[in-house]
């Protein structure tokens, strides 16, 4: 068997394994979509945090320097908006963490049970095969 063929065979096996692993998550398709949305929200909040620090000094602090009666209303509004973004981000983190527990544990349980029920890799294999695995 040539090196290329060996590589091809190994890749196809990996893809099959991956496909099979993903099939255990089929039940959680909608949940996975919610998880992805929540991760995006959490990441956006984190990015907004860095961007806000940049604008905090340039837009909201520096223009007020040297003023006799500085007005902080603009800064207050910006802080309220970023506060809401932060809150949504934290909620996103909480939701995806919770949902990931359900997906991870559920997939684990389903994969083992499916092996037992449908793939019949344990209860239905021949005794000879069990001997081979043992040895």
């Amino acid at each position: 068997m040539s090196e290329n063929m060996k590589q091809k065979k190994s890749t196809s096996f990996d893809m099959q394994t991956l496909k099979r692993l993903l099939s255990y998550m089929k039940k959680y398709k909608t949940t996975m979509i919610v998880v992805v949305i929540c991760i995006i929200l959490s990441a956006v909040a984190s990015a907004a945090s860095s961007m806000f620090l940049q604008s905090l000094i340039d837009i909201y602090i520096v223009p007020l320097l040297g003023q006799d009666h500085p007005v902080f209303t603009g800064l207050l509004h910006a802080l309220i908006i970023i506060g809401v973004i932060y809150f949504v981000g934290a909620m996103g983190t909480w939701i995806y963490n919770r949902l990931m527990v359900t997906i991870a544990q559920g997939t684990l349980k389903r994969s083992v049970m499916r092996c037992l029920r449908r793939c019949k890799h344990f209860q239905s294999v021949t005794l000879t095969a069990i001997h081979m695995v043992r040895s």
């Binding site: 000094i57 320097l65 207050l76 909480w94 359900t102 001997h131």
Partner: protein
């Protein structure tokens, strides 16, 4: 960072930008290097810890008596040696890095923050106790779920162990679906408990984020006012550079709190495993060597004096009740009795697999508790009802009885146990590989190999606990004949269901409900013991019906 902004960017000094920028890069590289090294050494330390733990546990398990093992169950011991140790390994790997890095990082960041602005840094002092209370509350809720999970893991392992061991029975009785349902029930229970605990733990991260974001908003608001008030002049108060540094330190403080919360999480998750490991390590073997033990067994005489026995102190009924029995050295004793009549329990007290609850058991005229355990068990060979062969060749298995046995001695022992004839038919003879549990030999062959293994000890007492049950009657008779002729000085105790297996014995003991119901020769018992007569007649009738 603060100096880079205030003295580099604000003052438009390229030299200062390079100076402080270079210092920042240097610190970043140092952080990278130390981070890699700490990860490497933490991995080494944690894997080393788990290896040591596992070894110490395993060593202690080897010293356990049967009652110690009964107390934990073999499945639970396996879970503790595998899953629990892995949990501790993972937890320790994380804890040794974070439990040091977190507090150091927090103390450093707090000190510098207070040196920049005392007022703003007070926010941290308010935040830390609030977070600590919330974290403590989460951990308290989570802990019971994980404790339950590890107990259920024991059940899971027990079910798998039972199923794999008895896979032939499962298949022959068509019980695959039942086994799957049983596994499913336990698996569901683990799923629910683990999910519950993990969901509660999932609150940790967003809680930390909320605190971090809240602190940044507060610092931004108070800091902005302070900068405007000072005119961004370090001589009059806070500067933009210092505000940036404060926000950066705030992130570090919250990061360190996050690390500490993860450490707490890992401690909570692994505490149950730690306790279960400690139980194994702290368990004292019930049966130990006495001080100044007797190292030699004089002869094969055995004496039971008013012996009582129970497996558990909580048991209502005694397994053995007031046993008095004298066996002379070299005598052949048959023990017969119904299922659950405590035949096996009686003989297990001789090599101290269990200790008598009351009374005294003596071998060679000396209390078994006064012997060195190794010496006693070398002199008392026991072929158990469910004896095991291990993966390896037949010769290797036989040498469990005597590691220094020569090939001639192996053959001699196998001839006595009538195992030689079937070994010689195998293509590789004594070098034939035995599968784990001896699954590639028949029940009768396995029993004969186990008898040969026991004979290699040249014991003073040989106990066969129903260990010829799978051997045909002709071979059984041959084995008994060989015993009588070749090892006349060895005391032989034969527990059997078949009267034919014991009827030639010097004396037969009839056990009933944990007591000696009768004893005597075959002929005497036929006259005096109703139980013995009934067993004999039913077996004779069965034999005639079969013919």
């Amino acid at each position: 960072m603060s100096d880079l902004i205030d003295f580099g960017i604000e003052e438009r000094s390229l030299a200062n930008v390079f100076k402080y920028g270079f210092a920042l890069i240097l610190f970043a590289v140092m952080e990278l290097l130390t981070g890699v090294l700490s990860a490497k050494f933490a991995a080494k330390a944690s894997t080393g810890l788990s290896a040591n733990l596992r070894q110490d546990m395993y060593d202690n398990v080897q010293r356990f008596s049967f009652s110690n093992i009964d107390k934990f169950s073999s499945a639970s011991i396996v879970t503790r040696l595998t899953t629990d140790v892995t949990n501790i390994q993972n937890a320790w790997q994380m804890i040794i890095r974070m439990a040091i890095r977190g507090p150091v990082m927090m103390i450093f960041a707090m000190t510098v923050s207070f040196s920049i602005s005392h007022d703003i840094s007070m926010i941290f002092l308010v935040l830390i106790p609030v977070l600590a209370v919330l974290l403590f509350f989460i951990m308290k809720c989570v802990s019971p779920s994980f404790k339950r999970v590890f107990k259920t893991y024991d059940q899971l392992n027990s079910v798998v162990e039972e199923d794999v061991k008895g896979i032939r029975v499962v298949k022959s009785c068509n019980r695959e679906d039942y086994e799957i349902q049983k596994f499913d029930g336990i698996s569901e229970s683990i799923y629910k408990d683990f999910s519950k605990g993990e969901r509660q733990l999932a609150l940790n991260s967003p809680l930390m984020q909320l605190c971090m974001y809240g602190v940044m908003i507060l610092i931004s608001w108070i800091g902005a006012k302070a900068i405007v008030a000072s005119g961004n002049n370090i001589a009059f108060g806070l500067t933009t550079g210092q505000l940036t540094a404060l926000l950066s330190y705030a992130q570090q403080i919250l990061m360190s709190l996050m690390m500490l919360s993860m450490v707490l999480t890992m401690i909570t998750m692994s505490a149950s495993s730690g306790n279960r490991i400690a139980e194994i390590l702290n368990e004292q073997p019930d049966i130990t060597d006495p001080q100044n033990p007797v190292k030699e067994v004089k002869d094969g005489s055995i004496k039971f004096e008013n012996v009582d026995f129970v497996y558990s102190t909580k048991a209502d009924k005694k397994v053995l009740n007031n046993i008095d029995l004298n066996i002379n050295s070299g005598e052949t004793i048959g023990i017969i009795g119904g299922t659950g009549s405590s035949k096996s329990s009686l003989v297990q007290l001789i090599p101290r697999l269990y200790d008598a609850t009351a009374g005294k058991v003596s071998v060679g005229g000396i209390d078994v508790k006064k012997y060195d355990l190794h010496a006693l068990r070398e002199s008392v060979a026991m072929v158990l009802q469910k004896n095991e062969l291990f993966s390896g060749t037949i010769a290797e298995n036989l040498r469990w009885g005597n590691e220094n046995a020569t090939d001639e001695q192996l053959v001699q022992a196998c001839q006595l146990a009538c195992a030689d004839e079937f070994i010689n038919t195998l293509p590789d003879g004594y070098n034939t590989h035995i599968e784990q549990g001896g699954t590639n030999v028949s029940g009768g062959q396995k029993q004969r190999l186990c008898i040969a293994r026991a004979l290699l000890k040249s014991p003073k007492v040989l106990i066969l606990d129903d260990s010829t049950s799978a051997v045909d009657t002709r071979t059984d008779a041959q084995i008994r004949k060989a015993f009588a002729e070749k090892i006349p000085n060895t005391t032989k105790i034969i527990i059997a269901q078949r009267v034919a297996s014991v009827q030639d014995a010097d004396r037969i003991i009839v056990m009933d409900d944990g007591q000696i119901s009768a004893q005597g020769t075959h002929e005497e018992l036929l006259r005096t013991s109703r139980i013995y007569r009934e067993v004999y007649e039913s077996q004779q009738k069965g034999k005639k019906d079969h013919e």
